[in-house]
Amino acid sequence: MAGSLDELKFRDPVKARALADALRREVELVGRSPVSIMHVCGSHEQAIARFGLRAVFPPALDVIMGPGCPVCVTDTPEVDEAVALALQGVRVCTYGDMLRLPGTSRSLADAQAEGGRVEVVYSPVQAVELARRHPAEPVVFFASGFETTAVATAAVVLAGVPDNLSVLSSHKYVPAAMDLVADQEETAIEGFVAAGHAAAITGWGIFEPFAARTRTPVVVAGFEPLDVLAAVVELVRLLRLGRPEVVNCYPRCVSRDGNRPALEKLWRVFEVVPGNWRGIARIPRGNLELRPEWDRLNARRRFRIDTAAVGGAGRNVLAERCICGAIMSGLARPTGCALFGKECRPESPVGACMVSSEGSCRIWHVYGGPPDLRGVA
């Protein structure tokens, strides 16, 4: 019941129009074009595209999606590990989005078609249930997502898992995504909208050192259309005033310190390690890996994973034209890619951004292609 009331409250068209008016005034007061801001979350892009908000953003405001899709930045060798395990006879379970993510020569869906046992789960709890149903077989949970889902993996690990279950972690760490963009020389990004669900766990305080170091304002936002609009208005206001501060526009879920029990669980199980993000770069604090004390659960320690066996099947000409890396870095748009909506579509994705429902290409495509309908009657 509370849910449906909230929904009405945060999808009120009258309030949306008032916020759109406020946004137009703020952007006019800044007096430059374009004003470029970035969000780093597929769910924010979902909300913007889903509700057609780009049709009400002022033309001078550029709202860009950055590396906010953990599935998209999962690197080819990580997929290869899962594919190799599946083809070695291990039962591999993972989230639905990971199934069609391209590896060097195959996706997990391809491995499944070749006889590998690959199953989709919706939570780590289902991975545990799967392992319990097949006690005589090795089962690997190919875990992906930012802190939000890493906490769920951690909770399951700490609750105790069956001996036959291992974890292959490709979890990613959100603060690294913003560092990456802010430190790019070519970046035009003047402010960030931070993901409310990740901040609910880490707390908004985690962004203060970032804002101070990069002199860039950060606004934490929720995922309803009014949340997004209100956060964008606040961010442009901070830009206009030249105040590189952190403002929490999602106080109903996010506190300064975050969810301490969840954080405590997260850091008991995971540690931050360097990792390659697909198409972007090696990110010094990009990945979350199981701590050494959990080696007995770590698929990378328990199995000899022969990724050489699933590598190199000739060069993929289409993939060489994919610009997912530039898109995720905020330097290009999906519509700037020659493959978008043509060779690269959800049913035959070339790049990772078209695979995941959190990827910007997929979102733009699902919600009707180029999202700017300002010119539509």
């Binding site: 949306a16 057609g52 009707g368 180029p370 309908l373």
Partner: protein
């Protein structure tokens, strides 16, 4: 893009399925006096004297076989009765029923399915007049496959290509109920609440709509796989019009909306088995809506959109907060991760 293997998306009712049918099966299309395979409509209509013989066939696979609100038996009768009704043939003369069973299939389940076939036949007034039974080895098929075909006579045929700019789009009730009920059960998502399939025969409701609207009902289609979004794309494409869909006007049950939010699946692309989408000339829209709402299956019917001359073949969604294009569904919607 040519693919050398059939995959699940080719059966999901979206663009992939349409291109497979066009690439492979359309070559079977032969000229007929009426509406044949090349129209890719819900069924065929052959001119016989001054009337139309309407016929259709449909194979049914569903997992799970029994789901909240129905089962594969009810689904197989309603699917065929509804395909006939969408052509304007609301008085089914006869149905056939062919069943393929997997070795080991429980007899009690089969009898339960037979009973719900019977029940749906009574509701729709469609008698089953012939059938066929085959058994395949264990593992060769998944439990049970049902095929039904149906025939009916109609005075006038309604296609899905008749929209003109200015026409109104009606849906006969809430969208997304069937697919969401089956999906949450299939993936064992354990969502609470009353998610129930809407599977029902629509011929009685369509009869009332046609009685009220006559020739001014110009397009009909049932939004099964691919949901309302897929039907609107088809109607826009075949009619050479654009469609503006007023999202806040689309009836959606709160349970379906909530499940959609949790799973990241838009009820507009989710299957229905007891709903119809009608294109009606603007002057008759109110009259047809009232007739549909007076029918027990149409109480929540609504006018949800308008056909436009701009952007032919495309569907624009007015969300109430902004506007965007509504994409044509590609394949089976899958729940997202985070």
């Amino acid at each position: 893009m040519a693919v050398d293997r059939v995959s699940m998306k080719h059966g999901a009712g979206g663009r992939a399925m349409r291109s497979l049918i066009q690439d492979v099966f359309l070559r079977l299309a032969a000229p007929v006096d009426g509406i044949g395979l090349s129209a890719l409509d819900d069924g065929a209509a052959i001119r016989v004297g001054d009337r139309w013989l309407v016929l259709t066939t449909d194979s049914h696979v569903v997992h799970p076989i029994f789901f909240p609100g129905g089962d594969i038996g009810r689904l197989s009768v309603c699917g065929t009765v509804n395909d006939l009704a969408m052509m304007g043939a609301t008085e089914p003369l006869a149905l056939t029923c062919a069943v393929i069973l997997e070795e080991g299939f429980p007899r009690a389940d089969l009898e339960r399915i037979r009973d719900s076939i019977l029940e749906a036949c009574r509701e729709s007034g469609a008698p089953i007049v012939t059938g066929d039974t085959k058994v395949m080895g264990r593992g060769e098929i998944d439990g049970i496959v049902l095929n039904t075909a149906g025939v009916a006579l109609a005075e006038r045929v309604v296609t899905d290509a008749g929209l003109r700019p200015g026409d109104r789009i009606l849906v006969t009730g809430t969208v997304g109920d069937h697919g969401m009920a089956v999906m949450t059960r299939r993936h064992a998502l354990g969502l609470e609440g009353d998610l129930r399939s809407d599977v029902a025969p629509l011929n009685g409701l369509v009869r009332e709509a046609l009685r009220a609207g006559g020739d001014e009902v110009v397009a009909m289609k049932d939004p099964t796989r691919g949901g309302l979004a897929s039907v609107l794309h088809e109607m826009a494409g075949k009619g050479g019009v654009g469609i503006v869909l007023d999202e806040p006007a689309v009836p959606v049950n709160p349970e379906v909306r909530a499940a959609g939010e949790v799973l990241g699946i838009d009820p507009l692309v989710v299957a229905n088995e007891g709903k119809a989408v009608l294109g009606v000339r603007a002057a008759a829209a109110g009259r047809v809506l009232a007739a549909i709402q007076a029918h027990p299956l149409g109480r929540r019917a609504a006018i949800v959109g308008t056909a436009t001359a701009e952007r032919p073949g495309q569907v624009i969604l007015d969300t109430g907060l902004g506007r965007r294009m509504l994409a044509e569904p590609e394949g089976e919607p899958l729940p997202r991760i985070c």
